[in-house]
Symmetry: C2
Subunit: 142 residues, 2 copies
C-alpha cells in the first residue's frame, strides 16, 4: 500500500515526505472527496505535529502535479479527489454528500471544444437531493 502511494507520488514528481504520503494515502482510501479540515482532523492523531498549512500546501502541490483533482462546489470549502480518471459527481444540496458517478466519457472528453482552445479537464456535476434526504423530507411533511 504505502509503497504504491510512494511510487504514485514519485511518478507525479512529488517527493514522498511523511505528510505527503499520509495525505495521498488518505485520498486513495477515502473516496468521500474530503475537505482540507476533514483531512487535517483525520491525520492529526497519527501526525500530532501536523499543521493545517501543510495540508493546504500538500494538496496544492498534488493538484499542480496532476496527482489529484480539486472540486469547487457551491460556496465554502474546496474538496479533493484522489482519483483522476474521468468520472462525474453528484452533490446533494441538503447534506453535502458528494458521490462518484461512473460515466462513459466518449460523450464529453474531446467534444465541444471551442475553436483553437486546448482542453485539459472536463468536469460533470449533477446537483440535487439524495435518496436519504428525500426520505427525511417526506417524513417531515407527512
Amino acid at each position: 500500500m504505502q509503497s504504491e502511494i510512494r511510487k504514485y507520488l514519485e511518478k507525479h514528481g512529488v517527493r514522498p515526505s511523511l505528510q505527503r504520503l499520509a495525505v495521498m494515502e488518505y485520498l486513495r482510501t477515502h473516496r468521500t472527496h474530503p475537505t482540507v479540515d476533514e483531512i487535517y482532523e483525520a491525520l492529526s492523531p497519527q501526525i500530532p505535529t501536523l499543521s493545517r498549512t501543510t495540508v493546504y500546501n500538500t494538496l496544492n502541490r498534488l493538484v499542480e502535479q496532476g496527482a489529484i483533482l480539486v472540486i469547487d462546489i457551491d460556496k465554502g470549502n474546496r474538496r479533493y479527489d484522489g482519483f483522476t480518471e474521468f468520472h462525474a459527481h453528484f452533490l446533494c444540496d441538503r447534506c453535502g454528500v458528494l458521490e462518484d458517478i461512473a460515466v462513459e466519457d466518449s460523450h464529453f472528453v474531446g467534444q465541444h471544444t471551442p475553436p483553437g482552445a486546448q482542453i485539459r479537464d472536463v468536469q460533470l456535476l449533477y446537483k440535487g437531493v439524495c435518496a436519504g434526504c428525500r426520505q427525511k423530507e417526506s417524513k417531515n411533511i407527512a
Copy 2:
C-alpha cells in the same frame, strides 16, 4: 426590454425593485458570467446609492428562485449566469474567460442519476487554454 425583465422576475416570484431589475437586466444583456464586483461596478453609475450587499442579496435571491445560475469555478469569485437553459461552459485557466458552449443535452440531463436521488441541475465545465492565450504563449516561447 425592461418590461420583459419585469415579467421574468415576477414569473420567478421576485419583486421587481429598481435594483433587482438592473441586476437581472445586466445578466441578460452580458453573457460574460460576471462576478459580483463586475456587476456592482457596472451598475454603480446608473444607481449611485447601490450597495455591494444589495448585489449579493439580489443574486442570492435570484439563484434561490431559479432565475439565474451560479458557477463555482476554481478559487475566488463566484460567477453568475442569467440563462438557465442547459449549456456547457469553457473556462480558460490563463485569462479566466468563461464562455458558453452549446451542447446537446440528451447525453446529460436525466442520465446517470444515483438511485433515489432527484437531479435539479447539471453542470458541464471544460477547462483549458483559450485560443488567444495559446497564441500569446507560443509567441513568448519563440
